[in-house]
Amino acid sequence: MKKTVFLGALTVAGLAAGAAAAGTLDDVKARGKLNCGVTTGLVGFAAPDANGVWEGFDVGVCRAVAAAVLGDATAVEFVPTTGKTRFTALASGEIDMLARNTTWTFSRDTDLKFDFVGVNYYDGQGFMVPKALGVTSAKDLNGATVCIQTGTTTELNLADFFRKNNMEYEPVPIETNAEGQQQYLAGACDTYTTDASGLASTRAAFENPTEHVILPEIISKEPLGPLVRHGDNEWGDIARWTLNALIAAEELGITSANVAELGAAAGGSPEVNRILGTEGNLGEMIGLDAQWAMRAIAAGGNYGELFEKNIGEKTPIGLARGLNAQWTDGGILYTPPFR
């Protein structure tokens, strides 16, 4: 089998196969490390800090899964992927899951044979322009030169938006966010377009963030979420319910501060008890131990804590909760019940 895999990889770079056949959960446990695909660097979502430690909102999801499965939030190997390489990396088994601002679309879910396990950020595509340009609406961008990351859904949304509004533009395709930032700041393009959260994150890294505005138009739905390979449902369930546990934890008031206390003994709320494993056997049902969700929440806090710490209004990125608030607070975050 080893040889088959080796030769298969030789056949066509870009699709090694067969390797993914075994259970991902067993592979991860045997390896002792979770291979998690992230961006090449988008501050707030996934970027290494000054000490080379990855941190961010997407990184938080990876760490939660690692904590649930391996009991160690640091047992993650972060694999930086570009818009072009991410799907190949996941399909070939190089990474176990992809948490990289990836839009959940029909064809990615079906044709590319992936499973999206949920949505961790409801986003939409926007435009950033320098204030000096005097543009206040995306409808004023007729004839503009637009920097755009290649290999993303934003490229197709952009074409659709300009076609729908009978406007012309000139695309400048770029490979990474850093390159886009450089081209935009040099004035090689009038506007930079990507997911609004990505724009906010990019702007936060500028020398003068106040000189740039994000236009009010949001031209697409971009539900971003982690995804796994199609076919390994046990592993998909683990990723899905780890994410759900983080969201439910916020709704039920479980935080990184009180999770140890709440999980020590069964309390008054049955659902909290079931999530934290003091009641029922949910952990066993997904092939983990009873404390899986407790560890996931303890790793970086619940969904709300991850949001506030990495991309919330108090951070340089400054994103409001908006759609990403709990359903009880006017947002659309809504997890199925834990029972």
Partner: protein
């Protein structure tokens, strides 16, 4: 009495396939062929089996569906609603364009640097050595990035041309150098312009006819007619006369700042310029070495003999040394042309929409058809490279030493 007997008929034994030198080479080749076919069959069936296991298949249907994305440099009609096949064609033409331009300029750079590297002037010689050593020893990828970055950072944005006191101005009010590209006036073909164009092509033929006649006269009578100035005159004067006779049918459309960008005229995009320049200056350094090798391969006696006949150094180089050096230069030159074509696949680095960027980049990403796209890409580069080789080999055969 003699009896004629047939030579003893050797019966064919299986062991002869290995022991008999008549058959051994064939045996070996057959074995090698079988092994090769088995290897490819194994790889192919393994690929198909693994694809089936993942529920995927090989299909080229996606080529007929709408591409959905826009491309910044299209030499043939293309919109986001065109098919992926059309997008691939746009990419192919862009690849051919940059490869063609870079081959020409690389040859010019290379021949100049190669000849000057053998100059008697110490400074010129050393400068050319520095050029060759710096450019061929740094990867072309880095040159492409450096040139593009320097262009976008140092050139003014179109915005700089705006306002009462712009910080940048157009050259002769006709050419604008911006960090998005160079905008030059475009010709407008009015009625009767075809006559002018036809006149131009007729003059072109005229130039060749004149040069042919002058060469023949030189060989027949030894009389040397001036070449350069009459050639230029034949090329330009009739066309200019015809232009005014027809009442100036060809106008110029000047680029002007409208909205965000310059409009009108012809835009030569910054990605094209960066890629073109980087490829030609990098490969030029290699060609310079080929040219130097070719010149040094011509024996010194040839130069001395030509000088003894009273030829001036320029003529010695053009008439005696270079024609002989070409025989040594052309075969490695073919490789360099192939390198340029293949290196042009780095285009996506600067956002140039070549075949690797369209078919092998965006189409591959949006459709997820990696294997199909990569196979098509391989086929394309293979065909183009073989074509370039074939054409250059024809040229090589034309210039090589004719042995009788």
């Amino acid at each position: 009495m003699t009896t004629l007997t047939d030579p003893p008929q050797e019966s064919f034994k299986l062991s002869m396939l290995l022991n008999d030198s008549r058959y051994r080479s064939i045996t070996m080749q057959v074995i090698a062929l079988i092994l090769l076919i088995t290897a490819f069959w194994y790889l192919g069936s393994n690929l198909m089996a693994n694809l089936r296991a993942q529920g995927l298949n090989i299909s080229y249907e996606f080529l007929n569906s709408a591409a959905g994305y826009d491309i910044n440099q299209t030499l043939i009609p293309y919109t986001s609603q065109s098919t992926n096949l059309q997008a691939a064609l746009v990419g192919i033409i862009n690849t051919l364009l940059v490869a063609f331009l870079a081959c020409i300029t690389a040859t010019v750079f290379g021949v100049l640097a190669g000849v000057l590297r053998l100059s008697n002037n110490w400074l010129v010689r050393k400068l050319m050595s520095v050029y060759v050593e710096i450019f061929r020893n740094i990867p072309v990828l880095i040159w492409i990035l450096i040139i593009y970055t320097v262009m976008t950072v140092s050139m003014p944005a179109p915005n700089a041309f705006r306002g009462e006191t712009p910080t940048a101005t157009m050259l002769f009010d006709a050419v604008a150098f911006t960090n998005r590209g160079v905008y030059i006036p475009a010709p407008i073909w009015g009625a009767g312009s075809m006559v002018v164009v036809a006149t131009f092509f007729a003059s072109l033929i005229g130039v060749f006819a004149y040069r042919r006649y002058a060469t023949k006269l030189l060989f027949d009578t030894g009389r040397l007619l001036p070449m350069l100035w009459p050639s230029i005159a034949i090329l330009i004067v009739p066309t200019v006369l015809m232009f005014f006779i027809m009442g100036s049918p060809i106008g110029l459309e000047y680029p002007a700042l409208k909205g965000f960008n310059f409009r009108g005229g012809t835009q030569i995009g910054a990605p094209l310029i960066a890629l073109w320049f980087a490829l030609s200056i990098y490969t030029g350094a290699f060609i310079a070495e080929n040219v130097r090798a070719g010149i040094m391969a011509v024996s010194r006696g040839q130069t001395e003999a030509a000088s003894a006949l009273g030829l001036r150094p320029g003529r010695v180089m053009n008439l005696v040394v270079l024609p002989q050096a070409l025989r040594v230069i052309i075969p490695p030159l073919i490789s360099q042309y192939l390198n340029i074509t293949k290196n042009s696949s780095l285009a996506i680095l600067v956002g140039y929409a070549d075949i690797t960027a369209t078919l092998g980049g965006i189409t591959l990403n949006q459709t997820g058809r990696a294997i199909e796209c990569v196979l098509l890409l391989m086929l394309f580069y293979l065909i183009i490279s073989l074509l370039i080789s074939a054409v250059m080999n024809v040229y090589n055969n034309a210039t090589r030493l004719k042995e009788r």
